[in-house]
């Protein structure tokens, strides 16, 4: 049963890892702006679509 010492220390260690990750995230300013990223992640595709369209159209012209 002394394996419980190991198990608990592992669980605490994992918890501490997550805790440190949280502190690092806060420090880097991740939580300062909690709105813009939620909008931004929806954008990337839009630009790609337009640029692809453009590429297609130029290719078509070349053909």
């Amino acid at each position: 049963m002394s394996v419980i010492y190991l198990l608990i220390s592992v669980s605490i260690f994992v918890a501490i890892c997550f805790f440190i990750a949280f502190i690092v995230a806060v420090k880097s300013g991740q939580y300062d702006d909690d709105y813009t990223p939620s909008v931004r992640m929806l954008f990337d595709d839009e630009t790609k679509i337009t640029s692809q369209n453009k590429n297609q159209s130029t290719e078509e012209k070349q053909v």
């Binding site: 049963m1 419980i4 010492y5 608990i8 669980s11 605490i12 918890a15 805790f19 949280f22 502190i23 806060v26 420090k27 300013g29 939580y31 300062d32 702006d33 909690d34 709105y35 813009t36 909008v39 931004r40 929806l42 954008f43 839009e46 630009t47 679509i49 337009t50 640029s51 369209n53 453009k54």
Partner: protein
């Protein structure tokens, strides 16, 4: 035909002025140009996210020339090394997802930009660019050309890295870490099964729990000890004293229990309590990061001015470098940054923001002009009399009374209750101890500590933060932005409301124009309008916009006599428009003289006069009527009393009207009211109200555009919501009621807990159930109640 609106900016299009381009309709050339830029760069997705999201670009020729100046540039840039430069710009127009998209794709329009990032809540735009391929000035021009003009003011001059205080987030993180792990570890003990292995490992579990409780106790809860110590020192009993006492007693008793092997202690409840209380604190702090409540003249002043050197060359210099004797060039709509003497032959200066006068004043060559006014019309030249720090406005601002942030000790409702709560709590604990000491010293000690633990006013302390935090959000959604939660309590205490006139109860935008006198024929109106077209006087412009559209006729002889009026020949008719003296108008009764008027004389026949009346905000009458039932209302104005009779008819009878008030007098007026025991709310808008806003118990600044400027205050109210002031006051009263109700509720919990404690039956498990349960009940109760009241009042309006 339905009303058409611009594809780009959404404004209603004036008939026959629309511009067709690419099968879309635009209201002006500016909007069309922006669309062209976007379609050229394949960025028309801009219009897909949001319907007509744009703004038409303003003419900014020469406005940002100062960005060529290295000294100024280095102050504005956040970072510069080699070719890489980073700048953070404040862009008030950022308002929707389209804005984020177009700005973050700015590198497609302007080369040299490597990355650009929008911070939406702060309306900030951070650009990393190559300073060799593109200059900041070019970027600013590009931004302006697509309708996103940045707002650069003197405030940007000292861009010190302002450190964000994130300590509460860290504390909350630590508290949650400790709380979660302790809960997990104390779970086996809750069942209290006499099991061999569990008993065997008990010391290990308990030691671990003890160690895990330390960071929460020492770091997360540290604010409570500091606050309790401070309040003891100033001999005021605030709510943090019983909290700190509860936490410490809980820790000592638990440690004692663990060491003596009496039980598992209350570490789980202890860390849970700290976590919940910090959560409440976090909730209460709702910051509107795009607003600033501590603004001073710096955010109103430009960062640089155009100086004319002796050799007549023009140069942009930082405003702090302007010294006495310099000559400055002030363009249309630019602010006069320092006191000086006018060198050009005439200027129209709008002082409405500084003094509260509604109509711009005319200055002649040689007149003294004061800092803070805005030049309207042509470019003027001026000679500097005082440097920025010695100018009238800045002096006024650094004046002690204006500075003094009235440091009244607000006694909050929670503190008021805790004044009684703490002594009663101690009494009960001592009584329990005194009773049990006759039976068993050990039980007596247990009872004493149990009372302090269970009565720790966790729920009590959470009531106010959650109620106010929620109300703060509700008001924020309705465009009333409060500085912090304390303002709500202050709002509920107000008994006297003082309004400023110009810009607060009147709008800045339009004036009401009336005509008195002989009827003007249509031909005459056409003539007047054409004469006015040539004039740059603000009154002429206002009247010109007011008169209906007509065909254009050429004016033959046109002469504008400064301070008097216009004389012109049109279609061989002699037309005079101007002041009463100028046109030799018949003498009027005294009450009429004070009004702002333009007199008309055609072919030497006096016709009549146009009277410029201030336009009052919509719903003003209704609002004042509603308010006058509960509050004393006063109106202060920096303007002359020409509007007195008009105001008297609109406003309720008992409203006191005081005119010709200088900024200092306004402040004194508020002070006198306070000395006579009133709780005063000041509603103002400009710099002229700044002192009064600071002095009053609650200073509310009404703003047409909340992003741009408002003087230091406790709350910013969007001008469009002005008529709902009544509703916000009512809501603040309701929130106090909610708090009182939930105080009763949390006291009931305390009584239940105390009955366990006093009989000596408080088990850790009971404490661990009661505490979170009471917290959850209180939090949900206040949230539901405040939403209910906000919604119900909204409907009844």
């Amino acid at each position: 035909m339905s009303v058409q609106s611009c594809f780009h900016c959404g404004l209603t299009i004036i008939k026959n002025e629309e511009i067709y381009f690419d099968e879309k309709i635009f209201c002006c050339n500016g909007c069309k140009t922006v669309y062209e830029i976007f379609s050229l760069h394949d960025l028309t997705c801009y219009y897909d996210f949001e319907k007509s999201p744009g703004a038409s670009p303003q003419d900014i020729q020469g406005k940002y020339d100062f960005l060529d100046n290295e000294a100024i540039l280095s102050k504005i840039l956040e970072f510069q090394e080699g070719n890489t430069a980073i700048v953070s710009l404040n862009i008030p127009h950022i308002h929707c997802s389209s804005c984020i998209w177009i700005l973050e794709n700015l590198n497609k329009i302007q080369s040299g930009i490597s990355t650009s990032q929008v911070n939406f809540p702060e309306k900030k735009f951070r650009i990393t660019f190559n300073s060799e391929t593109v200059s900041l000035k070019e970027i600013v021009y590009t931004l302006s050309s697509i309708g996103y003009e940045p707002y650069i003011s003197l405030e940007n001059y000292e861009t010190g890295k302002n450190n964000v205080d994130r300590s509460l987030t860290y504390k909350l993180g630590v508290a949650f870490f400790c709380f979660g792990n302790i809960m997990l570890l104390s779970f086996p003990e809750y069942f209290e099964i006499k099991e061999f292995w569990l008993d065997n490992y008990k010391p290990f579990f308990r030691a671990l729990i003890f160690v895990l409780a330390l960071p929460s106790l020492l770091y997360s809860a540290s604010d409570y000890y500091v606050s309790a110590y401070k309040s003891l020192k100033s001999r005021m009993l605030n709510i943090d004293i019983p909290i700190a006492l509860g936490i410490i007693v809980m820790f000592v008793r638990s440690t004692f229990d663990v060491i003596m092997n009496y039980g598992s202690g209350f570490f789980d409840s202890l860390t849970g309590l700290i976590f919940f209380m910090l959560l409440g604190k976090m909730f209460q702090i709702k910051t509107y990061s795009f607003l600033s409540f501590e603004r001073d003249f710096k955010s109103y002043f430009p960062i640089a001015v155009t100086r004319i050197n002796l050799d007549t060359s023009e140069e942009n210099v930082p405003i702090y470098d302007v010294i006495k004797g310099n000559r400055l060039l002030i363009r249309n709509q630019e602010l006069i940054p320092v006191d000086g003497i006018l060198m050009s032959d005439k200027a129209e200066i709008d002082y409405s923001f500084v003094t509260g006068e509604a109509v711009p004043t005319t200055k002649k060559s040689g007149d003294k002009i004061f800092a803070g006014g805005k030049q309207i019309g042509k470019v003027i030249e001026m000679e500097v009399l005082h440097s920025v720090s010695q100018s009238y406005l800045t002096q006024l601002w650094s004046n002690e009374i204006f500075q003094k942030k009235v440091f009244q000790k607000h006694k909050t409702i929670t503190d008021a209750i805790s004044r009684y709560f703490t002594p009663i709590l101690l009494l009960i604990a001592l009584a329990g101890f005194g009773y049990w000491i006759f039976f068993d010293a050990n039980t007596a000690f247990n009872v004493f500590t149990a009372v302090l633990i269970v009565a720790c006013p966790c729920a009590l302390a959470l009531t106010a933060p959650f109620t106010f935090g929620n109300i703060l959000r509700i008001m924020g959604k309705q465009k009333m932005y409060l500085k912090n939660a304390l303002v709500i309590e202050q709002l509920a205490k107000v008994d006297t409301i003082v309004f400023d006139k110009t810009g607060t109860i009147t709008t800045n935008i339009k004036s009401n124009i009336l005509y008195e006198g002989m009827a003007l024929s249509d031909e005459n109106i056409v003539l007047i309008k054409n004469v006015l077209r040539a004039s740059n006087h603000p009154l002429s412009r206002m009247l010109y916009d007011f008169l209906p559209e007509t065909q254009k006729i050429k004016t033959a002889k046109f002469e504008e006599i400064t301070g008097k009026g216009i004389q012109a020949f049109i279609e061989n008719k002699n037309i005079q428009i101007g002041s009463g003296v100028f046109v030799e108008a018949p003498v009027l009764e005294v009450s009429q003289i004070e009004k702002t008027t333009l007199h008309i004389k055609i072919e030497n026949n006096y016709y009549g006069r146009f009277i410029f009346e201030n336009q009052y905000r919509d719903g003003l009458e209704k609002l004042f009527f509603a308010l006058s039932k509960k509050y004393q209302i006063k109106v202060l104005s920096g303007d002359n009393d020409g509007e007195r009779t008009n105001l008297e008819t609109i406003l309720p009878k008992n409203t006191e009207l005081i005119f010709n008030q200088k900024p200092e007098q306004k402040l004194e007026f508020i002070k006198k009211l306070q000395e006579s025991g009133k709780n005063v709310m000041m509603v103002g808008d400009g710099l002229n109200d700044a002192g009064a806003l600071a002095q009053s118990n609650v200073g509310i600044s009404v703003s047409e555009n909340v992003n741009v400027f408002s003087p230091a205050c406790d709350a910013i109210l969007d001008a469009s919501e002005f008529s709902r002031l009544d509703y916000f006051l009512k809501l603040s009263h309701k929130s106090i009621l909610i708090i009182k109700m939930s105080f009763v509720l949390s006291l009931l919990y305390n009584i239940v807990g105390l009955s366990f404690a006093i009989t000596g039956n408080l088990l850790p498990l009971v404490a661990a159930i009661i505490m979170p349960l009471s917290t959850v009940t209180i939090v949900s109760f206040v949230t539901v109640m405040s939403n209910y009241f906000a919604f119900r009042n909204l409907k009844s309006l």
